[in-house]
Symmetry: C2
Subunit: 242 residues, 2 copies
DNA sequence: ACCTGAACACCGTTCAAGT
DNA sequence: ACCTGAACACCGTTCAAGT
């Protein structure tokens, strides 16, 4: 069997003698395995063997299985970003109506979710929300606010659309430091970093927090949001039935 | 250590010397483990040890790990049925407006999902839809149609509400025999059984199938349904922002 | 620095054996 | 009939060792 001999020769000719491992390459093959055989088929050993390497080698590029699963969601988020970019095309001008912007973004995101049917269940199984998702929300939020929408309604939109597109059924914004386990200065630094990276989200929290009964326990009353979305749908359906 | 000695004596005094295993008892402790420690903690060995038994004993009451997970969803569906029943109370009369019926059902279902935060991810990870879910859909459908709603709009409601309450993001009604792997008479028998158990669902399929472009490949165009729900939300939000 | 081999504690599942 | 013990092929992860 000299098959891998020629394969190796081919790789060598391309430049790197044996293309070195990297987080990106690991995540790419992990996603391919999940697409082909489902999420349960994504094991450290299977991913490694697909890369012609031992399972332990993966630990030099990822903190373990949990990190690999988190990384898979990073991949999904990146693909959504890309799908959105191509959907809007090279022209910078956004549509006048924020509904058109949000609509295009949601359809692009959905097209990615259809390519990766394992993604919604994976999101639901992780204990914390993948950080990249906050970026997606920030962009929807920005588009709505710049389009003249209030923070109150834009907030409700994130709840309603998040559950439809990503399959969220749980809380959305539980503050990163919900448990209060960070030392104070560290927490303050994180807050400042978030304010810079997610300006619209930060403004939304500031704008909404005034009405919250207990701001420390999470300013997001997800029961109220659920009922709002529910009535939105029921009334819309009743109108469509007229 | 005579602790288990007294425990056994207590169990014996209650009637059965050592309460025999049963599917119900296995699923009950499995659900309790998932509630307490997450879905990953639900292993055959852990469930068995919690019941004071060996892992292999579970196979006499369940077809294996997959069957146990399916059973967990049966438990969730049963709890939803129960929550709906208590929400409506003993009086038989349903509200005039179908929106009130559906609203109550969705809120009851959500209260159960909040008790079992692992449920949405589990639904998403199973390859087929838990049969009990069809029963839930049938009842919502019946309430809407009896309330004067068209099958067309009721169908759209199932898509929209299913994703919001249960976290569905995939296809809903893929016919049981999508692969065509059943022998003809067997398939016909299944269809008849479904027609009896799910009369409204059957009627809806019959009513909707006329418009479908390719009825064999599934009459449910989920892309169209997604866009419909999306526009319902976007227009409702815009109205709320007015 | 990056990768490996052997080892450990787990997992689902089988099978023949007990009662 | 129901339950068990030993075994098999897997899994994630560690650690000391190689280069």
């Amino acid at each position: 069997m000299t098959a891998h001999e020629t394969t190796r020769a081919g790789a060598k000719r391309a430049g790197a003698a044996r293309q070195p491992l990297s987080r990106e390459r690991v995540l790419g093959t992990a996603a391919a395995i999940a697409d082909a055989d489902g999420l349960d088929a994504v094991t450290m050993r299977r991913v490694a063997s697909e890369l012609g390497v031992e399972a332990m080698s993966l630990y030099h590029h990822l903190p373990g299985k949990g990190g690999l699963l988190d990384g898979l969601l990073d991949v999904v988020v990146a693909e959504i970003d890309e799908a959105v970019a191509t959907a809007f095309g090279p022209h910078d001008a956004a549509p006048d109506d924020w509904r058109d912007v949000v609509r295009t973004r949601c359809l692009a995101a959905r097209s990615v979710m259809l390519r990766h049917p394992w993604a919604p269940a994976l999101i639901g199984s992780r204990t914390s929300i993948p950080p990249g998702v906050y970026g997606l929300y920030e962009e929807v939020l920005g588009a709505m606010v710049r389009g003249g929408c209030s923070y109150r309604v834009a907030h409700k939109a994130l709840h309603a659309l998040g559950s439809m597109v990503l399959g969220f059924t749980q809380e959305l914004f539980r503050p990163a430091d919900a448990g209060g386990r960070l030392e104070p200065d560290r927490a303050e630094a994180e807050l400042a970093a978030m304010a810079e990276a997610l300006p619209y989200t930060t403004a939304m929290v500031a704008s909404e927090i005034h009405d919250a009964a207990d701001p420390t326990l999470g300013w997001c009353d997800s029961q109220t949001e659920f009922e709002f979305t529910l009535d939105l749908l029921l009334n819309g359906l009743a109108r469509a039935d007229g």
